[in-house]
């Protein structure tokens, strides 16, 4: 391992070591003081984030060109570390309240983030596969973390069986791509395809299987059926982390693999991606209308948002547009992560033991009992719909612009129409909170309140200065 290898993978190495040490240190921490473990985990994430920030602008390859460090990986890694910090701050009080506070929770979160970060740095399909499993396996455990609670266990086993199923699709797809091109290096695949020595039908079949596998991970229709069940059954803090982290990592891998390895077969893949995006937006938004449980409603909403992000992929084979498409998708992921953690933090605040406090009607009268929280939730719902002045609107504008420039006007129209449909169920929650009478109980918790407060402010403030954020996202290119 030489200096360049070490530099390229430094954040991942630091976080791996930290997570492993945390597992040992946790043994010596009292059962009553697991808050210390949470703080140590957060320190590890902050330290890694510092290292990642210091690597801004650097590009290098390491470990025989198996991993790459570039603007894209640095930006997405920072976003993932931010998700980890949010995931810990909303879990801190929640786990104690639900009686499932155990130290390994935090190590598992860290290991999962290691997998996600490795995914953004992958320059070889072998690394993509290992990162995929490294991020998924801790998430299976986390989904079943409220052990002996039947719905959490059910959520864990469903996530596990479908996750492993989709993982084997990815592996078989990689095998076919390897057969078609004779290499697993992402750049090598593109080079072989450009030289015309690749077996194109085999490569198409392989890329389709990889797309199926990642379709499961990011919850795109028709591979979305596990999402509502898993999101509903898992402890809410895990759901929030899973909804943001796994989605960001899955899309990062799709962007890396499709825009670098497969531009040569873009003409065949683009219509498929466009149809997947359209179906995902329609099914996610229409199914969300019928939901009475807030966790299920947000689960379908996360499916719909996967559809919006998938729209950016229709431009991946167009060299003039691919950079814009990636920046738009990353920007949307930032907006989604911020809104996502804010809204889930409020769900956690209202949740009581044994799954009570999760029905939409439990939000009635929130405006009277906790006006600030009601306003924050309204901001998140507006942002998810795409109504100004919120970050969600700006994200959608950038996405729609890319889609229209890519010549897929019908897809942009479907996107706008489904946004209108989504307004129905997002605004319904606002009506319930502000117009109906009720006595919702909220739990005051410092870190939780800080999380939704800060996210609500960020959602509004960044929508007034989107250019600076977008400029930052535009530097996140794969060079």
């Amino acid at each position: 391992m030489n200096q360049a290898d070490f530099q390229t993978l430094l954040p991942v190495i630091v976080l791996t070591v930290w997570a492993a040490l945390l597992l040992i240190v946790d043994l010596f921490i009292d059962k009553e003081k697991k808050g210390i473990t949470a703080i140590l985990a957060a320190v590890g994430l902050a330290l890694t984030m510092g290292i990642s920030l210091s690597q801004t602008g650097q590009t290098s390859l390491g470990f025989s060109e198996m991993v790459v460090l570039d603007g894209f990986s640095t930006f997405v890694s920072i976003l993932l570390l931010f998700s980890g910090l949010m995931g810990i701050s909303i879990a801190y009080g929640y786990l104690k309240r639900m009686g499932i506070e155990r130290g390994e929770y935090y190590s598992l979160i860290l290991f999962s983030i290691v997998g996600m970060m490795l995914m953004t740095q992958a320059a070889d399909l072998i690394v993509v596969f290992i990162a995929l499993e490294l991020l998924s396996i801790p998430l299976y455990v986390l989904a079943a973390f409220a052990n002996t609670n039947a719905s959490s266990e059910e959520s864990g086993i469903k996530y596990f069986l479908l996750g492993a199923f989709s993982g084997s699709f990815v592996v078989y797809g990689i095998a076919l791509v390897f057969g078609a091109t004779g290499t697993t290096a992402i750049a090598g695949i593109a080079a072989t395809a450009a030289a015309g020595t690749a077996n194109v039908p085999l490569m198409l079949a392989g890329s389709a299987l990889i797309l199926v596998g990642f379709g499961f991970k990011v919850a795109a229709v028709p591979f979305q059926m596990w999402t509502p069940d898993v999101y509903q059954g898992a402890p809410t803090s895990v759901t929030a982390f899973m909804a943001a982290g796994a989605k960001i990592a899955g899309f990062a891998a799709l962007m890396r693999v499709f825009s670098t390895a497969f531009p040569s077969i873009a003409t065949d893949l683009t219509p498929v991606l466009a149809v997947l995006a359209a179906l995902t937006m329609i099914v996610g938004n229409v199914a969300a209308i019928a939901q009475k449980n807030i966790k299920r409603m947000l689960a379908y909403s996360s499916i719909a948002h996967a559809g919006y992000i998938l729209m950016a992929f229709v431009a991946f084979g167009n060299p003039a547009l691919v950079d814009d498409a990636i920046s738009a998708a990353i920007f949307y992921l930032v907006a989604y992560a911020v809104t996502n953690f804010g809204s889930w933090a409020i769900v956690i605040s209202l949740e009581e033991k044994e799954g009570k406090g999760l029905a939409l009607d439990d939000y009635a009268g929130l405006w009277r009992s906790n006006p600030l929280m009601a306003v924050a939730m309204a901001v998140f719902m507006l942002s998810l719909t795409g109504i100004p002045p919120t970050l969600g609107l700006i994200g959608k504008i950038y996405l729609f612009r890319v889609v229209v420039e890519g010549g897929f006007i019908w897809l942009a129209i479907i996107g706008v129409l489904t946004s209108l449909i989504s307004a129905f169920y997002y605004l319904r929650l606002i009506v319930i909170m502000f117009m109906k009478d009720g006595e919702p109980k909220t739990t005051p918790e410092g870190w939780l309140d800080l999380t939704w407060g800060a996210m609500a402010i960020a959602t509004v403030v960044f929508s007034f200065i989107p250019m600076s954020l977008f400029a930052w996202a535009s530097e996140a290119l794969m060079k």
Partner: protein, 102 residues
């Protein structure tokens, strides 16, 4: 590769993969579903080894080791989950694992 053409190996791996997919979709016992998933992974292993020999590249064979390691890690977590759910429900039939729906 004297005697048997490599196409047969690829064909066999494709058949194994399809049997695995059908197993996951058709069978209702969580353990059998899990075994079908392992079958899919091993189909990929066979494809990797066969393609490795066609392409004269060792990458595929290295990949097989990674797949086997990851499969072992998956087994550890998966069986633990199946045991946990069996203790709660006294059944691992996926049709009876149906608390969450709507």
């Amino acid at each position: 590769m004297e005697g048997v053409s490599v196409n047969y190996y690829i064909g066999l791996s494709a058949i194994l993969f399809i049997i695995g997919v059908l197993g996951v979709l058709v069978r209702r016992n969580a353990l059998v579903i899990f075994m079908s998933i392992e079958l899919m992974l091993n189909a990929a292993n066979l494809a990797f080894v066969a393609f490795s020999s066609v392409n004269n590249s060792l990458d595929g064979q290295i990949f097989v080791f990674f797949i086997m390691t990851v499969a072992a890690a998956e087994v550890a977590v998966g069986l633990a989950l199946i045991v946990a759910i069996f203790r709660t429900k006294k059944s691992i039939d996926v049709d009876q694992i149906n608390l969450l729906k709507g």
